[in-house]
Subunit: 130 residues, 2 copies
DNA sequence: AAATCATGTAAGAAAATCTAACATGAGATC
DNA sequence: GATCTCATGTTAGATTTTCTTACATGATTT
């Protein structure tokens, strides 16, 4: 996962922020969750915490609804997405050589462990999203 | 301002999230605010709301403190930053031709108004950070 | 020794969020 | 046209988060 992807998938936004960013009501956001469309992480106090990816998906849902598509339709669309993603993944795996895999795993490791952190100005600035 | 910059300056994070992201206590974060180093926006309910830029600055402050620099020193550093930024801005203005300015203003307008929004898949996806 | 700095801690109030339940208007279905 | 279902609104009471203010404290500075 790239740095940017990690950032986008980090659950940092409470529902109040999500409401403003998406212009949805709390009721709507929770209902879409109930329908299995956007399942946020929870913090220690059981409050929902959303990522930027979650925001994107909520906005997509909004648009689909505007287009007259109902919950069932939207669910179907996302299931389709997932099937496609799964297929791509299998295809990838089939194509990758062993050395490719080693290189990728190495890159992942360097990222996740933060060992490749490069100082910006002197020593200052480690980004928490990385 | 670019899309990315807008995103980074949008105040969307409550102090609890900032605590986790920076590994600072609420007391520390509020104290740095008291010292004029990071002044978050407030929401309607008077809760502090932070941007990604705020996070970066808090992490910088952490590093400066680790380096043994005290509040006064850090303040001085940021005042220096501001003076330099101001100088660059003046320099820019001096160099820009009228047509440059017109082009830049045009770009800004297109960005802020969101008129350049390009649909991703069909009509779906307007990003709130843009 | 006294003052200052950076942070901890506690108390009480206000705001945000949670779950659960009932309400409702618009369409679909019988 | 009565009934159902869907997507959302609303309310209530509990819990969590955040706020401000104040006092406490160990480490430096004066």
């Amino acid at each position: 996962m790239t740095e940017k992807e990690l950032q986008r998938s980090k659950s940092v936004l409470p529902i109040g922020t999500v409401m403003k960013l998406t212009d949805l009501t709390a009721r709507q956001i929770r209902y879409y969750e109930e329908q299995g469309l956007v399942i946020p992480k929870r913090n220690e106090g059981n409050r929902r915490m959303y990522s930027l990816n979650d925001i994107d998906r909520l906005l997509e849902i909004k648009d689909y609804l505007t287009d007259g598509i109902n919950m069932a339709g939207i669910k179907a669309i996302y299931e389709q997405h997932e099937r496609e993603a799964e297929a791509r993944k299998r295809e990838m795996n089939a194509r990758l050589t062993d050395s490719d895999v080693r290189r990728i795993l190495h890159d992942e490791f360097m990222n996740v462990s933060g060992l490749n952190r490069k100082p910006e100005q002197g020593l200052h600035s480690q980004h928490p999203f990385v």
